[in-house]
């Protein structure tokens, strides 16, 4: 590996406080309650075992005699666990049904397709199809306070979609469509990560969910539906040329740019408006865009985009400026 990726301290991907215990919506909140519940259970049981063990090892003879027989096995080893486990089982099962409920009619639907090693995102039309649907990658924007249905699919191997602050994780399996509902109660950015090992740089397959107030969301969605903006300055115009001369369009769609219709990689029509590049691993700005194009293999070894080492510094700056302008 060569240069390390530049860090991105602005997005709450991981770390402290643990995102899995810091819910931001109704599909995650019961999981956090459950987590604390089972931690408490484990702590109590562990203390009981340790107490029994200490007594068995160092206790007074009369106390030891009280537990040194089959009654201990029946009560502590069988009866007590049956009670605890039954309670947990009921809690777990009721939560299972609650969290796997059917989507409501008219709920917003987003299809996320796991690919090695990024996420294809399509905001489905009201009929649930992709016709005219806004295409994006590695970032999902949702309106605050509304449940959103995610249709999870895979284009190649098994991936797993996980945004810990918003809800459970669910696998993306070839040949199947899994349904996951998430909701964010506050505007903000929520980090996500592929959880199922999918080969190569699985470690660097992240994503962002951005929750916005409904009106901002609608405005944003309207912009996304439009074709790409034409370059507004000379540098960006030169960037478009570099983009076309180097065949970037063979893998990337830029709606409105001639020849840019490849489906192998992320749709770049509005790449400038996204928070991250490289599937959630770098903040999105001209510097990181240029760095990614020049050295994508160094930053994310094994990913499907070659490093464009032949581009000069000027060319890199130009193409980065062009992409940055695709808001």
């Amino acid at each position: 590996m060569t240069s390390p990726p530049i860090s991105m301290s602005t997005e709450a991907f991981a770390g402290w406080p643990p995102p899995a215990l810091t819910s931001a919506g109704p599909f995650a909140a019961p999981l956090v309650t459950l987590s604390w519940g089972v931690f408490a259970m484990a702590a109590v049981v562990l203390l009981i075992v340790i107490a029994a063990l200490v007594l068995a090892l160092f206790g007074r003879e009369d106390l030891k005699a009280k537990i040194g027989n089959q009654r201990l096995i029946w009560y502590a080893g069988l009866a007590f666990p049956v009670v605890v486990l039954s309670a947990l089982l009921i809690w777990g099962l009721s939560l299972t049904s609650a969290l796997t409920g059917e989507p409501e009619p008219g709920e917003m639907r987003v299809r996320v397709t796991g690919e090695m090693w990024w996420w294809r995102v399509a905001y489905l039309n009201p009929e649930g199809g992709e016709a005219g649907a806004v295409q994006s990658a590695n970032e999902v924007r949702i309106p605050v306070g509304e449940p959103v249905t995610f249709e999870l699919e895979s284009a190649d191997v098994i991936h797993s979609f996980w945004v810990p602050r918003l809800g459970p994780k669910l696998d993306m399996i070839p040949g199947r469509t899994n349904i996951l509902r998430l909701q964010a109660d506050e505007a903000g950015t929520y980090g996500g990560q592929c959880a199922e090992y999918c080969g190569g740089p699985h470690a660097l397959m992240g994503l962002v969910v951005v929750a916005m107030p409904r009106d901002e969301f609608d405005a944003w969605m309207a912009e996304q539906g439009e074709a790409a903006a034409a370059p507004t300055d000379a540098l960006a115009a030169q960037g478009l040329e570099v983009f076309q001369d180097n065949g970037c369009g063979a893998c990337h769609v830029v709606r409105g740019a001639p020849g840019a219709s490849g489906l192998a990689g992320p749709d770049l029509t509005h790449v400038g408006s996204r928070r991250t590049i490289g599937a959630g691993i770098l903040p999105n700005n001209r510097g990181t865009l240029a760095g990614w194009i020049a050295d994508s293999q160094g930053i994310k070894p094994g990913n499907r985009m070659p490093s464009y080492t032949t581009l000069s510094g000027d060319e890199l700056q130009a193409v980065a400026a062009y992409l940055d302008g695709l808001e």
């Binding site: 995102p19 562990l46 201990l72 190649d156 098994i158 040949g175």
Partner: protein
């Protein structure tokens, strides 16, 4: 007690015998059991040799896989480290998991059984010593080749559960995945060979009087362990076969686009994979239940409850596999069932833990090295069990699945449930296997390093997972709050490794293997393995009257050594052991035991070489190795059923027993029955796969061939069965030319079977079924493929029968090889007939 076999229990009262033992009796015994010298050492088969080597090999793989873990922890010590690249890292964690599970854990507990079981049961050796040695060498040689793949960047990199489609040809085009599939393939063979050995050993070679109620807990654990292997391993054998077929011939078992399903692999793998955890845990728990009463100086409290708990664990563990698949979008009903079963399986664990605590309370625990490892293991295991209960709840699993929380959980379970008990066992049983005991001082240092290192490594990982770090990541990004927890884990891993290093130093300094003159019963244990012993195991085989024989009869040591019980010398003049009845252990016959031989050794080497040559598709050399392996196995089998000079012999105190068992009494018949059970589970899992894929894409399925062909195919198999059953009767008739007629019937039976198989194949092809085009094609042709393999094995058996007839080795009095071959033929024909019925009647005619 009611007699099981007609053996008169009053005869036990003749022991211990009085008077002088005859001159030269002990010397004769020593002579027949004496091991080979020099290079012939490789041909040794005594469980003392094989057991020690087996444990050594397993410990070697533990160390190697541990070193891989250290490399991984070094890479993860800091964010964005470049210590190893992503490709290497993906191979490292795949190899670490695979080696720990397949090359360390299962072989290690099997090795403990090989070393200890004969002595624990009071037998001379395990019933099939050459099979044990074969299992050892195939495993050691194959395992080392497998390990070396990491040095050439050819090691598998799909994770130890190898989920397709990541591991399919499309996404893993190299031979790395084939290394896994074929490498694991013969390790499964080795494990099953060991399991057969253990089951027959426990059921048929217990010392007289050792009824099931008086059978030591260690033997119970090993018995349940081995039974679980023969139920669970067939599933992974099938899974690896299907995956290799998909990779080699493009049969789409797991390819969703062509009617396969990646989840089929997950079902097959975890039907093996979860019981595997208990397969590893149970023998270790059995060792705990053996050691704790000794270290605490009190009989195991609740012995029957512990036995029941182990049986329950074995049973329930086959109903929990899908809890590894909670995040695949399973129906809520299934989630409920597997959630409940996964919680239920913790109950028997609780029973065992509290039985151990109660035993410690009833006695007085000693804090020696085995004692410390027992206590440490117990605590760690409880912690792992508690997180296990957590992840048995599907909603919690949705949070932590595939994160470092799971890494922590599984290491707590396996290190507490298996590794620490095994280290306790090493310190506890070295005085049995060596001239000296190990150092208490070094052992205590090792324990504290390992115990501390364990928690420093894995306790923070629970948090690492909740902080959002998925497992199987070669790096993590800086400024995401994951630096400190990872650094702590790395420090802990090295502490743990220092502890293991201390044990290795202790072993190098103090472990001197001894086949006789061991350090003796230093812990004052009650088990038969602590009787004075040599290569022949104990001088005489005692009558067992209690669960704790050496505690209940302090004279037993002396009496056994003086030859005052069964088989005080060699009754037949050869290696032998006593075969007893399954429930009450009543003496039934004296089994002649094999002697050292090069056949099984070279057979094992070439089996391993055969599989490994298949990896790079070197079919020519592989075929050569395969033929050599088969020749070796035939040479090995040739000496079976040798005529014996005497029909019955005196086994002590004037009791006479036959020198041969016939039919279902013989231990060879038992072994074949168990092997067929394994093959039967493979067939059942194949049928499950067939129905499973049908349920996924019924639209791509075609109609079966015409009905007449079904009748011909099934008719051919029925004819084959009838001929074999007839041959088995004919060979027993003591009349001229019967051997020839029986041999002819076997040849005809094979021909009928082969014809039926070929017609099955041809008619399916004629109906337009293509194995590469649908789940139906792939599964139907996998049935035909398995059957083709069995037809070849039957051809070799037919050849064996013909050769024995030509050499005049067929005898009406010794028909066991005929019986065993008949069993195999009947099974093969029956399962193929059933498969034909299933694939041609369902779906369509029946449903």
């Amino acid at each position: 007690m009611k007699s099981e076999t007609g053996f008169d229990h009053k005869l036990y009262e003749r022991f211990p015998t009085e008077g002088e033992r005859p001159e030269g009796e002990l010397e004769a015994l020593e002579k027949v059991w004496c091991g080979p010298k020099g290079w012939g050492w490789f041909t040794a088969i005594n469980n003392n040799y094989v057991g020690i080597l087996f444990i050594g090999a397993a410990f070697l793989f533990f160390t190697l896989a541990g070193i891989l873990a250290l490399v991984m922890r070094t890479q993860l010590a800091v964010p964005d480290a470049g210590f190893v690249g992503v490709d290497t890292y993906n191979q490292l964690f795949t190899m670490h998991g695979t080696i720990m599970m397949f090359l360390f854990a299962v072989p290690m507990v099997e090795a403990l059984a090989v070393l200890l079981l004969p002595q624990v049961l009071g037998a001379r050796d395990l019933p099939f010593p050459r099979l044990g040695a074969y299992a050892l060498w195939a495993y050691l040689v194959g395992g080392l080749i497998f390990f070396c793949s990491i040095f050439f960047s050819l090691a598998p990199d799909g994770g130890w559960f190898m989920y397709p489609p990541l591991t399919s040809k499309t996404y893993s085009p190299g031979i790395n995945a084939d290394f896994w599939l074929l490498g694991i393939g013969f390790i499964e063979i080795s494990a099953i060979a060991g399991a057969i050995e253990i089951i027959v050993g426990v059921m048929r070679t217990r010392a007289p009087g050792m009824t099931l109620a008086k059978m030591p807990i260690f033997a119970w654990a090993m018995l349940i362990f081995a039974v679980m292997i023969i139920i669970a391993f067939p599933s992974v054998i099938l899974a690896t076969t299907l995956m290799e077929l998909e990779r080699l011939f493009d049969w789409p078992f797991f390819d969703a686009a062509r009617g396969g399903d990646p989840l089929l692999w997950q079902h097959l793998f975890w039907f093996f994979g979860h019981p595997e955890v208990y397969i590893i845990f149970l023998p270790a728990a059995g060792a705990m239940s053996t050691m704790i009463p000794v270290i605490a100086r009190h009989r195991l409290v609740g012995h029957p409850l512990v036995v029941m708990a182990m049986l329950a664990t074995g049973f329930i563990s086959f109903g929990v596999w899908s809890h590894h698949m909670f995040t695949t979008g399973m129906p809520t009903m299934s989630v409920g069932f597997f959630s409940a079963a996964s919680m239920a399986v913790s109950l028997p664990a609780g029973v065992q833990v509290f039985a151990w605590i109660a035993t410690m309370a009833a006695g007085k625990m000693r804090f020696n090295v085995p004692g410390l490892f027992i206590l440490g293991g117990l605590l760690i295991f409880v912690m792992g069990g508690l997180t296990g209960v957590m992840v048995a709840m599907a909603p919690f699993d949705w949070v932590v699945h595939d994160t470092y929380f799971i890494v922590a959980h599984l290491h707590y379970v396996l290190i507490g449930g298996m590794v620490f008990p095994v280290f306790a066992a090493i310190y506890y049983w070295t005085p049995f296997a060596g001239r000296r005991r190990l150092s208490e001082r070094t052992g205590k240092i090792a324990f504290w390093l390992m115990f501390t290192g364990m928690h420093v490594t894995f306790l923070p990982m629970h948090l690492t997972g909740l902080m959002g770090m998925p497992r199987r990541v070669f790096t993590y990004l800086p400024d995401r709050g994951l630096d400190l927890v990872n650094l702590i884990s790395t420090v802990g891993a090295f502490l743990f490794a220092l502890g293991v290093l201390a044990v290795i130093i202790d072993l190098v300094r103090n472990f001197r293997p001894a086949t006789e003159g061991n350090a003796g019963n230093v812990f004052d244990s009650p088990g038969l393995e602590w009787l004075p012993s040599g290569l022949y195991s104990t001088r005489s085989i005692p009558v067992v009257k209690s669960l704790y024989p050496l505690w209940d009869n302090p004279e037993l040591m002396r009496e056994v050594k003086e030859g005052r019980y069964f088989l005080p010398g060699t009754a037949t003049g050869e290696r032998e052991t006593l075969i007893t009845s399954p429930l009450n252990a009543e003496p039934q016959y004296v089994a002649r035991m094999p002697t050292p031989s090069p056949w099984h050794f070279w057979g094992a080497i070439f089996t391993a070489v055969f599989f490994m040559l298949l990896v790079p598709s070197a079919y020519g050399p592989a075929a050569v190795a395969g033929v050599i392996a088969v020749v070796c196995l035939m040479g090995w089998a040739w000496k079976l059923d040798e005529p014996m000079s005497a029909e019955t012999v005196d086994v002590g105190a004037g009791i006479r027993l036959p020198t041969y068992g016939v039919g279902s009494t013989s231990h060879g018949w038992w072994a074949m029955t168990i092997l067929l059970f394994v093959a039967g589970v493979v067939a059942a899992m194949s049928m499950f796969s067939y129905v499973f894929l049908w349920s996924r894409r019924p639209d791509t399925w075609i109609d079966p061939p015409a009905m007449w062909s079904l009748i011909v195919v099934v008719g051919g198999y029925v004819l084959s069965i009838a001929l074999m059953l007839g041959a088995r009767k004919v060979v027993r008739l003591d009349r001229p030319r019967m051997a020839m007629i029986a041999t002819g019937m076997v040849v005809l039976a094979w021909a009928a079977m082969a014809a039926a198989w070929r017609i099955d194949w041809v008619t399916w092809s004629g109906a337009g079924l293509d194995p590469t085009r649908s789940g139906q094609g792939a599964t139907v042709f996998s049935f035909i493929g398995w059957q083709g393999f069995y037809v070849i094995v039957c051809a070799l058996m037919t050849l064996y029968v013909v050769m024995r007839w030509l050499r005049g080795r067929v005898s009406p009095a010794r028909p066991t090889s005929y019986d065993v071959i008949t069993l195999f033929f009947v099974f093969v024909a029956a399962q193929a007939g059933l498969a034909a019925l299933l694939t041609r009647l369902f779906p369509g005619v029946v449903l």
